[in-house]
Amino acid sequence: MTTDSGELELVGAEGNTDHTVVTVVDDHDAIQLAVQIWCREARPPISIGAGYRSTTDFLAAHRDGSPAVVVFDLEQNQHRPDFAGLEKVAAMGHRVIVYSHLAGDEVILRCLELGAVTFIVKSEGRSHLIDAVRAALVLEPHVGPMMAKAIFHDRNVGRPKLAAREQEVLIAWFQTESKDLVGQKLRISSTTVRTHLQRVRAKYAAAGRPALTKSALVARAIQDGIIFLDDL
């Protein structure tokens, strides 16, 4: 992959959090409300816009708007994952955080391939979701614990070769959901754990389907020195 400096500049401008809208697409008022309350209660608070009950509503409202961070329920109205909807939203350049009760590896990997920036399983709790939203706002790669497991188990051809250390971090992160504990066990700082996870996500995005979000993620990762051009 080649990333010219022009794109890096563009991405840098896009990373301005002041104007990026955070929104929820979920057919349950309860979830919309919960996410809104969590964002407002977060320290520091995250400003969050109106929620939408369906992908169609969201797309209608954001037809030509700037890229938003979308907390996206995968199963709206029907009981099957709405991959097509996810793909549409991601293709428009929105940073999609899939927030679903589904935790199957194949569902998670499919979502990442379709352009979701991260995947948080509803059972993982609010702090992970808030972390994911914050990461998406500043265009940082983020890996949720269940997502870590899915990446760890991914045996698809064409997937990036993860270093042994990165695999260790992935599985430990899934086991504990705590970067501090992972750091303690592997004798590294929790910041290094975070860097490992970001690096994995960036590598993963680079190997995945071409999408706006992917180039953004990878560009950001290169800017931050998480990933090197040699790695690509």
Binding site: H28, L33, H79, S178, L181, Q184
Partner: protein, 708 residues
Amino acid sequence: MRQCSSLTAAAVALLDPAVPGASNTVLMMGLAVWAIYRLVTRSRSAIATAGDVVVLVVIGAAIPVLATPDEFFGMASVPQTVVAVSIATLGVQLPALWSATVLAVGICAYVSGASAVVGWGGALLFHDLLSIVVAWTVSVLLRLAIERVARTADQAHQDRLAAEVAAGVAQARRNSDREQLAMLHDTAAATLLLVGHTPHVPVERVAAQASRDLMVLQARPVTDHCAPVDVIRLLRDDSTYLDVPIYFTGLDHLWLDAEPAHALVAASREALNNVDRHAHANSVTIYAGRHRLDITDDGRGISTGTSRGHGIDQSIVARMQRVGGRAFVHSAPGGGTTVELQWRSDDEELISAGSRDDDELERNLWSRYGLALTASNILVVTVGLWHALSANIQMPAVQIGLAVAVALCALSAPLTVRHGGRWVLPGVVATLTGIAIVQQATLSESELVYASWSQAAVGFCLLPHLLRSPFARGLAFLLTLWIIPAVIVLTRVPTVHMVLAFAVGAAAFLVPQIAAFSFITSVRTSLRLARRENATRLRLEARVGVAEAMASQRDRRYSDTVARLVPLLRTLSQRGPITEELRRQARAECRRLRALFDESGPESTLLSKRIQSLIGQAERRGVNVTAHVDGDLPTMSLDTAERVLHHIDAALDRASTWARVVLTSAHDEVDLSVVCDVAGRRSPVRRPSGGAEVVVDKDTVWMTLRAG
């Protein structure tokens, strides 16, 4: 085959001018008539078989009437052929003990008959008996091989069936589980999450949601419209309400998809109602086939001129057409009525899936049946050669050489079957034909009649080579092998006697050879048919399992969970204040639901059930536990499982408010991880025994263990 051979033998005997006598003619006519009767009726009853035994005993005992001493010196006489072929075919048909009895009886009859012609103790008598015993041995060998092939194929099929049903059921369980969990997630879990984890949530909103959840959860689950239905059972149930007696023929069970099944039952019901109301019938017969159901009555019939009315057109014909089927009504005044219902089958695409079975069967066929054929062939060659040598023929060395060549040809069959190119088989046929021609050319005219062992041997030798050949091709080869030497010999010795000798030889050897060959083809055909049927059965059985699994799902976990959720949701729907106690309850239920969502599926092992029970204990102490158990854990020894459980128990015991249990597979081993907080717990953190690693971070303890 037995009857074809008898008929040929009888025809030969009747046409033979050298055998005079009225009793001979009568007996042979009788034999021919019996053979034709058996060929026409194709009965497999015990009486018919007993009749065959009687025929062979009579023919054996009547040798003095049937053959002159001169006749009897031939390679194969008419009575000998009938007795030997009958015994051989019965050897294939009957269990070994029974056929041994038949052999004993046959030999007794034959000996008593033959001794009257050639005297006791003659070498010829001994040879004849030997060939009969050899024929029997060969047939028993073949029977054993057939049984073995059948058993192996059955077993393989059963195993595959069981595996596929299990896989189908597991898949369906996962699907049904997902469906139910998705429903729970959309309703109660969402509401409880809101209540439990979000302060200052509007009471009105919670009440409205809780009421909706209650409505959804308490509604009866939709019955599964895809479950297969046994049409015959439904019709039997229906038939008890009718006055006319109903007889069922054909299939005992007819499992069909719900949609065509219900149409079929409804159409049949209408047809039966018509019979009951209008036909004045004494009985109704329902024949069930795989694609057809016939309902036939012996009533007064429908006259073709009158209008058929709404019943037949709408309730029967149109109904069947709606599900892609057809219906016909055949009737004549006074002649009863037949309603014929047909439906489409969509199992055709499944048939191509069986090529793996085909290969297995081919291998099996070769290894068992081919081996038996080769053994039989060597036996036949040995006996034939010995027969010839003991008759003091010229050039015995040539005979031995030829026999060895035939035996080698037989032994090379596995190579032809496995690696045979296009020209290998014709090559083998040419070689064998050559051997037969040379063998017979080296015999003098007088020797030809009794020392021509190649007549029998080359055909048997070819059989193992034909295992993969199509029927027509194989038959052509067999006939070539038979006819070319016969024509050459007959041009050399053009006597009636020789023609008859060949005809008897055909009855004794060619017919059994063709039968043995056609067996291979018929096994292949019946396997294909069986596979087609099995594919349908497999699908249907899997669906039955699915339906059962879904029913039991609704019965067990689902109803427990709903029963627990209902009181809480009811309280919430009453718009009362959301107290701390309610929040706590909501959180607890949320955790339970989460555990349910996290679980890999209902087929989760005993291990995950015991882990769940440990988690339950901790939750009762007020510890919030999240758990994840991989669905595809490797098989663990009992010791390993106990060790894992012990560590979970010990770790959870230390937890004060929350814990996270993760059990994942790591190649052939399992990784256990338990993270929990130990704030406020007095007991110091001890290092657990048995290779577990512990990391402590402030109040959090993380224990990991690799076991396998």
